[in-house]
Amino acid sequence: MNQTNDEKSVALRASFKRAVMVIVSLFILALVLLYIDIIFGDSLYSFTDVMDVIASRAPSGITFVIGELRLPRALTAFACGALFGMAGASFQRLLHNPLASPDIIGITEGANTAAVFGIVVLGISGLELSAFAIVGGLTTAIVVALLTFHHGFAPQRLVLVGIAIGAMLNAIGSWMLIRADQWDIQSASRWLTGSLADSDWTYVIITMITLAIGLIAVMPLSRQLDMLRLGDDVAAGLGVKVGLSRAAIVIIAVLMLSIATSAVGPIAFVSFLAGPIAVRLIHSGSSAIATSGLVGSCLVLGSDVIAQHATGTQFPVGVVTSVIGGPVLVVLMYFSMRKESQL
């Protein structure tokens, strides 16, 4: 940007500055939470211990606890939080509705039920399972869209259709779990609550690669998303290929969401919470997708710290995010009823 200090460009630069500040602060917060998540536990480790593990010169006990348990767990939390956040915000912006996050409109449930089916019936895991979850998520997105598109497009109807589809899929998932073998129930049950307990390096690699792909794909699409928020007609008038952009955004969002879900299960409310929080922090008309990703990371990491260390007992991270997310959902519903909220 080679501009003079025009008064009128101040507006643009001020919102840009704010966005950069918010993103940097969130990134630092995420790193701090990541660090806390790694060093705290049954035994407390120091920064040098962590560095020793990374440089592979630590004693084997520490290497195991940090290298095989805590580091993959924290990195998975970071990556999945970001994926949930970006996917959720993409849907919310695309559908002009904070309630239209994928964990509310049934798409998370679609990926999740497909994953449960994959484990219980087909006995698959790893990449195959992720692919299966993606197919489940995409199929659900298409079904919800088909049931909603009827002489035009109504986000309110989509939310209602999505909630119904999600409930049905949840029922199917539970039914499959009840019918499953004892052993499968254990590994499949985390798909109901969302848990970081099983994180390993396979999932770190899968989710980190997805995060990288997602970021690269979302950057150009977020400009189109910004335009779509002006309404389909205005966006089309300004040269946005509305249908194509929308399809691309949905596919990328479902991909990010499904892979995160296949790694850690549906961590409740992260997709739903990240977007609105990011918008309130950035406070401009932009879609704030990357910011939502960072908020998602902070939410999952922070919740994991609370879930593991705040009380005597450890419980799944999804329980903490539910405790935070439930009240926020109520508050958002309250305000969106009072004011025709656009998000």
Binding site: Q3, L12, S15, L230, G231, V234, G239, V240, G285
Partner: protein
């Protein structure tokens, strides 16, 4: 009809401003399901005129405007923009030649006027391209002519109806096109704001030579501001011509199903309708007075 001369663009930010733009439609038909909303409508707009499309609710006037702006795909007919079939042009290129402001658009929460207007530069950008001097100039010019410069930092939610509409018009102007289509630009505005918006459009038309085509409800305002009027009925063109050719008791009766007298607008010397109604105050007084006697 005499066309205004097109003065040179002072900032010279136009892409092809000097060539006179044109937009024409041949036998446009648009169907929604089995319902034919627009049925074989022609139009030929060129050379810096203001056009108005009028008609009763559901006559297909908005749909026709949307077809002109390739927001709906016609089942039949073609729209020719500056000599090219609009359906075959890349959508971003169309967006540098033709701008459309849909009816009552809604701004995202918290967006500032400057941010909103700067979105009008989208068609000139590719992924990774920087905000240029030209973009800045176009946005500032758009804010200036719409008298919105002082509100650049304000959030759009905080503006009055008229200011908000001016901000949206500024967005369309920042797009820097020779042709601007507007769907009901004065709807939901107070009377004073309606005139303010239309005067602004007339200024832009006179100064920059921009072709303006608008769907408008108010027949008298259409007559006052437009060079030509297209009166539509049941998806077809009923009458096309200058305001004095279109605004006649016969046409108004056919198109709106309403009996009117036509007088001359004392302000603009254009035709003006005076609607008959059973309960106009004059006859009512006469009846009351007769009953008293």
């Amino acid at each position: 009809m005499k066309l205004p001369e097109i003065p040179t663009d002072p900032l010279n930010h136009g892409q092809q401003q000097s060539q006179s733009a044109s937009l024409s439609a041949q036998k446009i038909s648009v169907a929604y399901g089995t319902h034919l909303a627009v049925n074989g409508v022609d139009l030929d707009a060129h050379g810096g005129q203001i056009g108005a499309i009028i008609g009763a609710n559901g006559c297909g006037k908005s749909t026709f405007l949307r077809a002109l702006a390739r927001l709906v795909k016609p089942q039949g007919g073609t729209v020719i923009l500056n000599g090219h079939d609009i359906a075959k042009l890349p959508t971003k290129r169309v967006a540098t030649q033709l701008g459309i402001l849909p009816q009552s658009p809604i701004a995202p929460d918290g967006i500032t006027v400057f941010d909103l207007v700067s979105r009008g530069r989208y068609p000139y950008h590719r992924f990774g391209s920087h905000w240029s001097r030209q973009d800045q100039d176009a946005v500032e010019h758009a804010l200036e002519v719409t008298h919105m410069s002082d509100f650049a930092d304000r959030s759009v939610d905080q503006l009055s109806g008229g200011q908000r509409q001016r901000a949206w018009i500024a967005l369309t102007l920042a797009q820097d096109t020779d042709i601007v289509l507007l769907d009901e630009p004065t709807t939901y505005l107070d009377v004073a704001y309606q005139l303010e918006v239309l005067d602004l459009l007339a200024d832009l038309n006179a100064i920059d030579g921009i072709i303006i085509i608008m769907v408008i409800h108010d027949i008298n305002l259409a007559a006052r501001y437009a060079d030509w009027i297209l009166a539509m009925k049941d998806g077809t063109c009923d009458t096309f011509g200058t305001p004095s050719e279109v605004i006649t008791p016969d046409v108004i009766r056919r198109v709106f199903g309403m009996d009117v007298r036509i007088i001359q607008d004392p302000e603009s010397k254009t035709p003006m309708i005076i609607a008959d109604s059973r309960h106009a105050l004059g006859p009512k007084r006469e009846i009351l007075e007769k009953e008293k006697l």
